[in-house]
């Protein structure tokens, strides 16, 4: 018998079965939610490099708490962990303005490309600058609804708040965004830089 076939077909001890199942679940979580967690971390003020590290930390925590995670609460668990990690990371960066400049440099480093991609990178940078002036609760709701396109009910579940509270925060966030965009039309990313 082919030793590889024999090895694959042998009965596995309980520890190996558990380990294999856990690894499969982790792999599934990573495949399904890496982009979501990364974008959330980016929109919560982390640079691309910090967002990479943050995603790593989120899934490390998830791996240690795999028994508590199931299909109904996997995104909520990862989101809550990502928020905590983002808060901790931002607290460790005291100068937001310098960070914004670093973000711009890293965005360019992460997305090197032709000039038509420059507007895209600039748009992300300017959005981050706008969101930096938001209260954290409104910022998160705005990101989840407008960027991740989640329903209010799911947003409320992720935030651990009532749907009405989520709707209220979203309304306030939109008002604030509109006012900021009206005040500084030169910050419109789709206008020329000097406009």
């Amino acid at each position: 018998m082919n030793p590889v076939v024999w090895f694959a077909a042998r009965p596995m001890p309980v520890a190996e079965v558990t380990e294999a199942t856990d690894r499969l679940t982790i792999e599934a979580l990573v495949q399904r939610h890496t982009a979501f967690v990364w974008r959330v971390l980016r929109r919560l003020g982390l640079s691309p490099a910090d967002a990479d590290d943050g995603v790593q930390q989120v899934f490390m925590v998830a791996a240690r708490n795999l028994a508590r995670i199931h299909s109904e609460n996997d995104r909520a668990f990862l989101y809550g962990t990502a928020v905590n990690i983002a808060n901790n990371t931002r607290r460790s960066h005291r100068r937001q303005r310098a960070l914004t400049q670093a973000q711009a440099a890293e965005v360019e480093e992460h997305h090197p490309g032709p000039d038509e991609a420059l507007a895209f990178r600039d748009a992300c940078d300017r959005l981050d600058k706008l969101l930096a002036d938001f209260p954290d609760e409104q910022r998160r709701v705005l990101v989840l609804v407008e960027i991740e396109q989640l329903e209010l009910a799911e947003v409320a579940q992720l935030e651990g708040i009532r749907r009405g509270t989520a709707a209220s925060r979203l309304r306030l966030a939109r008002q604030r965004l509109g006012e900021l965009l009206k005040k500084a039309p030169e910050q419109n990313p789709f206008g020329r830089p000097n406009e």
């Binding site: 380990e19 690894r23 982790i26 792999e27 990573v30 495949q31 890496t34 982009a35 990364w38 974008r39 980016r42 929109r43 691309p48 967002a51 990479d52 995603v55 790593q56 899934f59 490390m60 791996a63 992460h110 507007a119 895209f120 748009a123 992300c124 300017r126 959005l127 706008l130 990101v143 609804v145 407008e146 960027i147 991740e148 396109q149 939109r174 965004l177 509109g178 965009l181 009206k182 419109n188 990313p189 789709f190």
Partner: protein, 238 residues
């Protein structure tokens, strides 16, 4: 979908953010790091498990050695218990029929009391102590050699202490014990010689003379002839 009250610029910003993606190899890096962390945890667990098993084995070995040398597995303690019980059993048959002898200070390697099957003495059960092989010849004796030596030693000490009557009592006990069995003790001649001396020293010269003459007839080649003859000569009435 977002409400239409947001300006188009905002919608454009959101669209751009939505298109932003992490590096393509980020998932692979995450999985590799997770696997490495898991391997490290497994290695640490194996080290801890190995040391725990080793510590358990050492503790078990130490516990076994302690029990062996301190606890009930000590053969010396068993032998001491055997020696302690031996003399009491040997002296038990003499309590009923004879005067109680002085307590033995050091029993030494005393043989078991199974050689005293006397009807006048209580049958002492021999199950508490492991039986030892009988010393001397295979013939049955009522007295064992250590007991003979002991009694004769008492008689000699009584004579040396100027108490021939006590010596006679001890020798009478010796004689009665030796008469229980089919043959006399191994030191019968010595006992008779001591009795002759004791009779003479106690003033019973006629008895001493008579027994001395009997001794000379029964034991013509005994090394005790000279001492017994001396008493015969001394016992002759003037």
């Amino acid at each position: 979908m977002s409400e239409p009250d947001l300006p188009p610029s905002a919608l454009a910003l959101f669209e751009a953010a939505r298109r932003e993606q992490p590096a393509s190899n980020l998932q692979r890096r995450i999985l590799d790091n997770l696997e490495q962390a898991q391997s490290e945890r497994r290695a640490r667990f194996n080290v801890i498990l190995t040391w725990s098993v080793a510590a358990l084995c050492v503790a078990a070995a130490v516990g076994f050695l302690v029990l062996r040398h301190v606890g009930t597995f000590d053969p010396e303690s068993l032998r001491a218990a055997h020696v302690k019980l031996g003399p009491e059993r040997i002296s038990a048959p003499t309590v009923r029929s004879e005067h109680r002898s002085a307590p033995e200070p050091d029993p030494g390697p005393s043989p078991p009391p199974s050689i005293v099957p006397s009807p006048s003495t209580p049958m002492v059960p021999s199950v508490a102590i492991a039986p030892r092989p009988k010393p001397g010849p295979a013939r049955a004796t009522t007295l064992d050699l250590p007991r003979e030596l002991e009694l004769l030693g008492e008689a000699k000490a009584a004579l040396a202490g100027g108490d021939p009557k006590r010596a006679l009592r001890t020798l009478n006990r010796y004689v009665s014990l030796s008469k229980v069995g089919a043959t006399p003790g191994q030191l019968h001649a010595e006992a008779r010689a001591l009795r002759i001396e004791a009779l003479s020293l106690s003033g019973k010269h006629a008895d001493a003379d008579k027994e001395a003459r009997e001794f000379l007839q029964l034991h013509p080649t005994s090394p005790l002839i000279d001492s017994v003859k001396r008493f015969v000569q001394e016992s002759e009435p003037e």
